[in-house]
Point group: none
Chain length 191, copies 4
DNA sequence: AATGAATGAGCATTCATTCAT
DNA sequence: GATGAATGAATGCTCATTCAT
């Protein structure tokens, strides 16, 4: 006993992150997280209050970071000099680069968890921005669809791009150029 | 007998479809599927081998239909007169219109089932096509990202657009115009 | 399988009643109830929704019966021709004779269950009656103490008196004669 | 060292007494006892062998005191000049006044502990005394019932009467006057 | 063909207790 | 003497699946 406390904590976090990323929140079991970490179930509960709390410990930094983005309220009377889509996606990209697996779990594997709506909220944000800045004359559902498309495109790069942050940023830039290039709108600067 | 049997079979299928669409594969329970169908659990197993087989029975027609799309191997020496992206998305749209709930289940609610990779495979198909026809000079991962974006955009429309097929087709057309509009490629016809 | 459903149900009820009576609600385990009944845990849940529901199934008849007693509201302006203490204890006695183990569980072994206050409520009823009819000039706490004493005395007889209902009724009568005999009150008829 | 040790010991005792009184033996947890005492779980085990031993440390003084009462064997040939019921209840009252929480724990919160039968044994003592002195011509079970009633009445006063020892003694006296007043026996002095 | 009782392995969680430090 | 990390068995409960009828 009496292994370094941080060591065990880190082993649990690592094991749980792996499990959540592979299987998703719902399908991950505390038993197998504990086993993979090389400790007993009870001990996981000594470090984290439970499955939800363990998930939150892993996910909350990313969530906080994204929440700042989501909670920025746009003043509807202001001109559209506020963060553009590209600024939002840049911020998302940086958040991902700082917490890769956590970000992917939050966006793709949080079904059944208290964070299950995270992706939807982020998508709503992008959709509202798109609608105000780019597509006001269109069906709002089109903005939703564009927002979903943009996020999915980005997340696909996130999922499959390796450790090379430069390549990743380039890909995201190219991707957005394509995705937003077809939007007939003066507000968009393809440069 | 045969008539009776089909009746029961259809009731199970209807009940399970509803359940899978609402709760997803993993969270659906055989008990409540049977209850909703008005028959007993054991009898569901008499008609379908189990949860996975029941899911397959519901999903396979859509899956087969999409598989035709997927299994078409593009001869690399042929000119690019093969189905273009727009043809693929049209086909996807028609498949959806013919089998709405099944399609949505397959694409959005199959986590944990044997079909969990269906969406990924469809995305791969679109990606390969995009790569050959439109983006050969780019990073293949960019094609993956574009494919993911296109599918997510389409599925968002599928998910939220009501019964009006005309509006749906219009939205999909507009969406693709935007998504593909930024692609610097002679193959794309933005009209 | 396919034993008589009622047979199994009865075996569970018998096993649970024995367990609750021996160990109390809190200390009884669904596992051991199932084992004692000769079936598996899961099957107990097929018959009863859970531990609390199983307990309720056993206890509710007695509880309903006592509740009628408890819920009778005394009109404060009426003369005290309403059920006297002796009428209440008679009713309690009859309820016990109809459901012996259930009654004892409800009164002595319900700690931790949804019925944990049953004895207290019954005691309150007796106390209020005592206060109105017999002891209005005394400290209300004295009425509480008398009520507790009377009930405990009765329950002691219930606990240790065998199957002879005649002896039991005689004992209760004698007991009440003693317990209420010292009360200096015209309302009491020791005959 | 010794001073320090007693300090810690006392803190544990105080914390555990509070916990046992609030939650009962079974529902009290070593973790929260240790936490409330401001020390670690392991250290509780250094001072007390375990939950049962800790409970015993708290309860044994009261228990010893009551045991003296219980262990006095009545010589059947002696005349009944031995402690009368009233003497016993006086002794019980004094024991309670000297160790209020411990007494209440022993009598009302010891379910599941090694002392779970304490109340029953005390009740037996009172019953035997009652039988010899007052009720020899009756059913012994009647003496048991009277003993239970007397104790419950007293304990109800103990539980709900505040810090005023005078009021408490008065209430107990009045209560016993009532409870024993109906006993047709020369040994009883209703004054 | 149909029933639904029964199984048994699984789940998240709790907690008295131990023991290396 | 003191720590608190670690254990492991227990708890209530769920559910896909089986099979005697």
């Amino acid at each position: 006993m009496q292994v370094q406390k941080d060591d065990v904590r880190n082993k649990i976090i690592a094991s749980a992150t792996e499990e959540f990323l592979n299987a998703g929140y719902q399908q991950s079991s505390m038993r197998s997280i504990a086993a993979k970490a090389g400790i007993t179930v009870g001990n996981v509960y000594a470090y984290f209050g439970g499955k939800a709390a363990l998930f939150e410990s892993i996910i909350s930094p990313v969530w906080e970071s994204l929440n700042e983005l989501i909670s920025i309220q746009v003043d509807p009377t202001e001109p559209i000099t506020l963060p553009t889509i590209r600024q939002i996606t840049d911020r998302i990209t940086e958040t991902f680069l700082e917490n890769r697996p956590q970000f992917l779990i939050l966006m793709n594997k949080s079904a059944g968890s208290p964070y299950k709506n995270a992706r939807g909220e982020l998508s709503s944000l992008v959709s509202r921005r798109l609608y105000r800045e780019i597509l006001p004359q269109h069906d709002p559902l089109l903005a939703d669809a564009m927002a979903g498309a943009i996020l999915e495109g980005i997340f696909t790069v996130f999922n499959h791009c390796g450790a090379d942050a430069g390549r990743l940023r380039t890909l995201i830039r190219e991707l957005l150029g394509m995705l937003l290039g077809g939007i007939p709108c003066k507000a968009h600067d393809p440069a």
